[in-house]
């Protein structure tokens, strides 16, 4: 069973968001990593890049498939997790911890209200949400 921490917010494109002041940490959900299988490549944006709400910010590739990453917020990339680029298995093993992808300084905090709670995301994912 996929885990879905209660203290995070979730997007319909299977990213999670952790709020800390005006900066959010973004990753992909346990459900998403399990669907993808072994992750072998991550294409992450450079720090400083401006992201749009629901805009593509990178790519995640597994042995089976390639999937685009969509930003659940608009803002500026503050930091990327450079540790995982050569250790992509961290995203499979610890998607909410060591496997985080990027940190973004929020441009429009009100967008967070658009995201789902853990409870809603579980229902969404179980219904085969895309």
């Amino acid at each position: 069973m996929a885990t879905t921490p209660a203290d995070l917010k979730y997007s319909k494109t299977h990213e999670w968001v952790r709020l800390d002041g005006n900066v959010v940490t973004i990753g992909i959900t346990d459900h998403a990593q399990a669907e993808l299988g072994d992750i072998t490549y991550l294409d992450l944006p450079e720090p400083g890049r401006v992201l749009q709400y629901d805009g593509q910010f990178g790519e995640v590739e597994s042995v089976k498939a390639v999937s685009e990453l969509f930003s659940p917020v608009s803002g500026t990339v503050a930091e990327i997790n450079s540790e995982i680029v050569d250790h992509t298995e961290s995203v499979n093993e610890d998607p909410f911890g060591k496997g985080w992808l990027i940190k973004v300084e929020l441009a429009n905090p009100s967008e967070l209200a658009e995201l789902m709670s853990a409870e809603d995301y579980v229902k969404f994912a179980e219904a085969g949400g895309h």
């Binding site: 299988g37 072994d38 072998t40 590739e61 042995v63 499979n92």
Partner: protein
């Protein structure tokens, strides 16, 4: 849509949490937990695959040898009873209808194992070229087929069988063994063949005993592996797959599979165009590619050299032992030199890769 066929191990796969996918009309396990972990178990120890979807047909009778000589490319006459050979079924244009393994049981009896996706097509092809003195017995339904692969495969199988008999089977040899499993006596065929680049066996067993044997192999250390790992392993070993490296429009000359073609055995379907292309030199060749970039080359991706298009990827995989990617591609003969660095277009990026012989791929994957 037609209902998917299920192997005798279907319930076992579901109980162990395999992810099932449709493949060639069958519902098959693509992975149990991790494709790369499963592939690693085969390179380092022992893995097992349910390959019951592959077509299995006995071809028997006074004209069986003649039929197989005419419809397959390798020299069936060179096979001694108890040995097997990789071969191709060629069409009249010299293209490849399928790649197969031919096992010689005795002077007039052969077993042919074919790809699941081509099974009906191949068997119809054989039948349409056969005389009345050839009988066909398709045993795909009543048997299961399990591949046990890896450096520990023979040891694991002999423990599971409670018999050392499999240890005496040489490469590309097979044996019929009488086993007692769970109180039942059964006749199984054990072949020292595989599709992973590792040592191992392919076992043909009565369907009813498949779950028990699978459990025993598991207890002795064989890790269940799905089609995902099977694909990664065969790409790493440089083995072709119908629909990727070979099809009705590719020649064994281009695919560098002439070691499975005997131009001296006499006439066979496709011989003339194959011999002609061989003498002319083909315009493209199937070679391996190795890249230290993680972006995976996939079928259809374009290959460039000095900005010129020189070919296309047929298959590619991430190779976990050294975090590289390995692929195969048809490359224009003028550019198809091992050691050359070429560029693979992966979506909007260009990834450098080195051309290597297919036979050198496995070494890079270890």
């Amino acid at each position: 849509m037609e209902e998917l066929r299920r192997t005798p191990l279907d319930a076992v796969h579901r109980q162990t949490g395999a992810r099932m996918v449709p493949f060639a009309g069958w519902d098959m396990p693509v992975m149990y937990s991790s494709i790369l972990e499963e592939a690693r178990s085969v390179r380092q120890g022992c893995g097992m695959f349910d390959i019951s979807h592959m077509g299995r047909v006995y071809v028997e009778g006074p004209d069986a040898l003649d039929l197989l000589q005419r419809t397959t490319t390798n020299d069936v006459n060179a096979l001694l009873p108890g040995t097997a050979q990789y071969s191709l079924i060629a069409n009249p244009d010299g293209g490849i209808i399928d790649d197969i393994i031919v096992y010689r049981v005795d002077a007039q009896k052969f077993l042919v194992v074919v790809n699941a996706s081509n099974s009906d097509k191949d068997i119809s092809w054989f039948r349409s070229h056969a005389t009345a003195s050839v009988e066909f017995n398709v045993v795909t339904q009543e048997t299961a087929m399990i591949a046990v692969q890896g450096p520990r495969a023979l040891e694991v199988a002999s423990k599971a069988f409670r018999s050392d008999a499999v240890l005496n089977i040489g490469r590309f040899e097979f044996a019929t063994l009488e086993l007692e499993i769970a109180g039942c006596n059964a006749t199984i065929t054990a072949c020292r063949t595989g599709y992973t680049g590792e040592d191992g066996l392919e076992l043909i067993i009565p369907a009813s005993m498949a779950p028990t044997l699978w459990a025993r192999l598991h207890d002795e250390g064989a890790a269940p592996c799905g089609l995902g790992a099977r694909d990664t392993l065969r790409i790493e070993a440089g083995y072709p797959l119908y629909g990727h490296e070979i099809d009705d429009n590719t020649s064994p000359v281009e695919a560098l599979l002439m070691w499975a073609v005997s131009l001296t055995k006499g006439n066979f379907i496709g011989r003339e165009p194959i011999a002609k292309l061989k003498s002319q030199k083909p315009a493209r060749k199937l070679l391996g590619l190795k890249s230290d970039q993680r972006m995976q080359p996939r079928q259809g991706y374009t290959l460039f050299s000095n900005g010129e298009r020189i070919g296309a990827i047929t298959s590619g995989t991430f190779s976990p032992a050294h975090n590289i990617t390995l692929a195969m591609a048809y490359i224009e003969s003028s550019a198809a030199t091992p050691g050359n660095i070429v560029q693979i277009q992966v979506r909007d990026k260009f990834v450098d890769a080195e051309i290597i012989p297919k036979k050198a791929m496995l070494q890079s994957a270890r």
